[in-house]
């Protein structure tokens, strides 16, 4: 455990001063950022989109996009990097400063083997070749804790899981033993458990090799978990800088406080105690018609023609009462999304039945089907794509009404305005196009659109996962509010347990197409009975540095387990 105060005496490893980056379009991406990273230190750059955190990192390694103009200074051990010509920079990149990116799926060359790519990284700096290179590659893979590395060398990226890919990316970065490692949202694209493993790995690498790490993230949990020191950015400027514990303990700047406030939290250990006690059977009359019923539902993916049929959902039985919110949680591939799409009638059913308000959705035909559909709505994960780019906001919201020819043109427009109001968007937005809106605003529009026909059932598939924390908080709050007011039932799908915890009454934990545990949110999160649920909960990085060391060892166990 290096102590920040201890290292400030020597000249810092990285020293960024008054960095400003501007593009053709008016608002500069980075106004003025100064950051220092000391030997063996882990510094977190925190901020929401538009804060310029990634730009800063890219400026350090000299990979700014074309047309970006950077001023100020970036010093590595006192050597100025900013404005060095390409050939010079190449000598630093990978050799002394390395970078890990957000999206492991695309960060590796899909048509080259892992071994080749590591070899290439070594070659780049006239490193070892042939047998020696191979040996080194194996060591690297071992270092990032990839099982039987010799064999993996011959693998192509697509043969590895997301986590393994990210480990390979790390291995590449570490290939030439850099002094500074830039990690840009290294775990954002990963499942919680994998994320936990990678975070743990990063820490161990730091401990083992003493490599300094500058980590860029928007996730306070990650920060609390990994960073020694935090630098908070907003709109290209540093708003606050402090040691992690101090920052969490008493955030000085309003924005920082807001950020922390916005982070959804799971019941802490103390809360859990009494959480167990409360009863997990919702009080409802047995004969009441459920809003949604899954009865031994099965869904297959892959076509019979290709010969490979794999179950996406495998015998799920769930019941959602009217006016309740059912949270579906699970990691990628757990089948939660499929369940949601099933309820919306978007995927063919292989077995069992899905009943919406007591009626079988799949078998319904013709007008009955249309009527059924009118009663449910769907909110898609990606606000980018969920609105037709050619439609104005008004048209988008109005479409369901147009489809079912509800009321006169006038009534519809009235409805649009009231919906916009309901999702707290100014009526003036009606004429705008989706691309003129921010992600959060788009998601609100999507919500409004879903509510147009006062559905009895709303299916929300990861509605906030693409949003910034603060925006996410806004939307969730809005959602909860609307759900209270309009009293529709809702299937809320998310990989983020904290988010689900915030909105859901009932929770079903899914794994590999099966429900491993379900019950009231408080109960499931408070007193999980199933190991997997516990694992998930344990893996969530708690936005509180004090619990870091507590969870640390727990993670290691898991890692060995997996």
């Amino acid at each position: 455990m290096t102590d920040p105060e201890g290292t400030t005496v020597t000249t810092p490893l990285l020293e960024v001063t008054d960095l400003a980056i501007s593009f053709s379009h008016p608002r500069p991406a980075v106004r003025s950022v100064s950051v220092t990273v000391d030997e063996g230190e882990v510094v977190a750059l925190v901020g929401e989109s538009g804060s310029g955190k990634s730009m800063t990192a890219r400026a350090v390694i000299g990979l700014l996009p074309d047309g970006a103009k950077a001023t100020g200074s970036v010093r590595l051990r006192g050597e100025e990097l900013l404005g060095l010509p390409e050939p010079e920079l190449i000598r630093y990149r990978g050799r002394r400063v390395a970078m890990v990116f957000q999206e492991p799926q695309t960060a590796l060359n899909p048509v080259r083997t892992i071994g080749w790519q590591i070899g290439e990284a070594l070659r780049a700096h006239g490193g070892v070749r042939g047998k020696a290179a191979r040996a080194r590659a194996v060591d690297l893979l071992r270092e990032v804790e990839i099982p039987d590395p010799e064999e993996r060398l011959g693998y192509y990226p697509h043969q590895l899981s997301g986590g393994q890919k990210q480990r390979v990316v790390l291995a590449l970065a570490l290939a030439n033993e850099p002094e500074l490692l830039l990690a840009d949202e290294p775990t954002t694209a990963l499942d919680v458990t994998v994320q936990a493993e990678i975070l743990a790995l990063l820490r161990r690498i730091r401990d083992r090799t003493g490599t300094s790490i500058l980590i860029i993230t928007h996730n306070m949990g990650v920060v609390a978990h990994l960073a020694d020191r935090v630098v908070v950015l907003r709109q290209g400027e540093v708003v606050e800088e402090a040691a992690t514990r101090d920052l969490f303990a008493d955030p000085r700047h309003a924005y920082t406080r807001q950020l922390l406030a916005a982070v959804p939290r799971l019941p802490g250990p103390d809360e859990r105690v009494h959480a167990v006690t409360d009863d997990d059977v919702p009080a409802v009359a047995a004969d009441a018609v459920a809003a949604l019923e899954y009865d031994d539902v099965r869904v297959h993916y892959g076509s019979r023609m290709r010969g490979r049929v794999l179950p996406a959902v495998d015998g799920v039985t769930l019941r959602l009462e009217r006016g309740q919110v059912l949270g579906l949680v699970g990691e990628s591939g757990s089948g939660k999304t499929t369940l949601g799409r099933l309820a919306a009638g978007l995927v063919p059913l292989a077995g069992g039945s899905v009943r919406v308000g007591g009626e079988d959705l799949v078998r319904a035909r013709g007008q009955r089907r249309v009527d059924l559909r009118r009663r449910l709505a769907f909110v898609h994960q990606d606000p980018e794509a969920s609105l037709d780019p050619r439609f104005s906001i008004a048209e988008a919201i109005r479409e369901p009404l147009d489809v079912h020819a509800v009321g006169s043109r006038k009534d519809r427009d009235v409805r649009v305005t009231e919906l916009l109001d309901a999702v707290r968007l100014p009526a003036s937005f009606a004429r705008r196009r989706p691309r003129e809106l921010s992600g959060g605003q788009r998601q609100r529009v999507a919500l409004a659109r879903a509510l147009t026909l006062d559905p009895e059932l709303l299916i929300a598939d990861e509605p906030t996962s693409a949003l910034d924390v603060s925006v996410q908080a806004e939307v969730l709050e809005l959602f909860a509010d609307l759900q209270q007011r309009l009293g529709f039932a809702c299937v809320f799908i998310s990989h983020d347990l904290a988010v689900v915890n915030k909105v859901a009454d009932q929770v079903a934990v899914l794994r590999a197409g099966r429900v491993v545990e379900s019950g009231s949110a408080a109960r499931v999160f408070g007193a999980p009975t199933h190991d997997y649920t516990r694992q998930l909960l344990a893996a969530v990085p708690v936005p509180d540095p004090t619990v870091r060391d507590a969870t640390g060892p727990a993670l290691r166990e898991q890692h060995i387990a997996s």
Partner: protein
């Protein structure tokens, strides 16, 4: 790879089946018949009747179709009405010339495209780019029949350094150096358009690849851009390029008809024109069917190569 072919094969066969019938029927719907083009202006009715019988055209269509298929199955393509020779031989002779021409053109196009696009991307100098894009736009914009004639006029008539047309007198193998000269003008003429299109595509593909995250990764590792282009981007752009190459081959075959006419290159183009205008049913049928076969084959081939070049298709994902 195997299952790949297997999956494609049925639909390919369907296409061929439909094609064979469609062609057979269409060919016979065409006004004007082989007899009159054989008999010539001064033939007597009995003469034409005799010829008709001689060609077996007096039998019902269905029988003719069945017979035709039957013979095809046994590799007997029939004999040409007009030319008299075995259709097999005729097609073979023409095919050799056409293939030599188109394949050469294809190679030229591919090589030029490869070099030009890599140059354009590696030294992404605005002047080089401007020059290249101007060049290949012009190359696409100039009709084959124009470039062909200009080439002849320049290199055969004004400065008679190259033959104006025809195939090398003693084959392609006997005197390669001579053959090369006979091949040069038509091949270049044919390759121009395809080469330009290919260059355009490849350059674009490379640029797109260079925008991919893995390139950023590589650059962040300090690998020089040029090396990335050559060892990574190119390798990634290749599969789609192959597909385009396949399409281009089709268009080349089409262009060959014209180029062969301009350079009096005795290939399939001339043959098919002659066959159709002579209503030489056996020849027409086989030639048309052949072009379908070639098309289908190329589609299959490109698919397979594509699959083979792309590990994601070749090796199923593990996770």
């Amino acid at each position: 790879m195997g299952h790949y072919l297997l999956r494609r094969l049925p639909s390919a066969l369907v296409v061929l089946a439909i094609a064979s019938f469609g062609i057979f029927a269409l060919v016979r719907m065409v006004p004007g018949d082989p007899v009159s083009s054989l008999a010539g202006p001064d033939a007597t009715p009995e003469a034409r009747a005799a010829i008709r019988a001689d060609l077996g055209l007096d039998q019902p269509l269905v029988t003719q179709y069945v017979h035709w298929l039957g013979r095809l199955a046994h590799g007997d393509f029939g004999t040409s009405y007009r030319i008299g020779g075995q259709v097999k031989d005729l097609v073979a002779d023409g095919a050799v010339n056409t293939i030599v021409l188109t394949v050469t053109a294809l190679l030229l196009a591919a090589i030029v495209a490869l070099v030009a696009s890599v140059l354009a991307v590696v030294l992404d100098n605005r002047w080089v780019n401007a020059a290249l894009s101007f060049g290949n736009t012009l190359a696409i914009a100039l009709p084959t029949f124009v470039t062909g004639l200009v080439l002849i006029l320049l290199f055969a008539v004004v400065f008679p350094v190259l033959p104006a047309g025809g195939t090398p007198p003693d084959g392609f193998l006997a005197r390669p150096d001579i053959a090369a000269q006979y091949l040069l003008l038509p091949a270049v003429c044919l390759a121009l358009g395809a080469g330009a299109a290919l260059t355009r595509f490849l350059t674009e593909a490379l640029r797109t690849e260079l925008r991919q995250p893995y390139v950023t990764t590589a650059r962040a590792l300090g690998i020089p851009r040029r090396r990335i282009v050559l060892t990574q981007a190119l390798r990634n752009a290749l599969p789609s390029a192959v597909t385009v190459l396949g399409i281009q081959f089709g268009t080349l075959l089409g262009g060959a008809v014209l180029v062969e006419a301009i350079f009096t290159w005795p290939g399939l183009g001339g043959l098919i024109e002659e066959a159709i205008s002579g209503r030489d049913y056996p020849l027409v049928q086989v030639l048309l069917l052949l072009s379908v076969v070639v098309f289908v084959a190329i589609q299959l081939l490109t698919d397979v190569i594509h699959a083979w070049l792309d590990p994601r298709v070749r090796i199923g994902g593990a996770s």
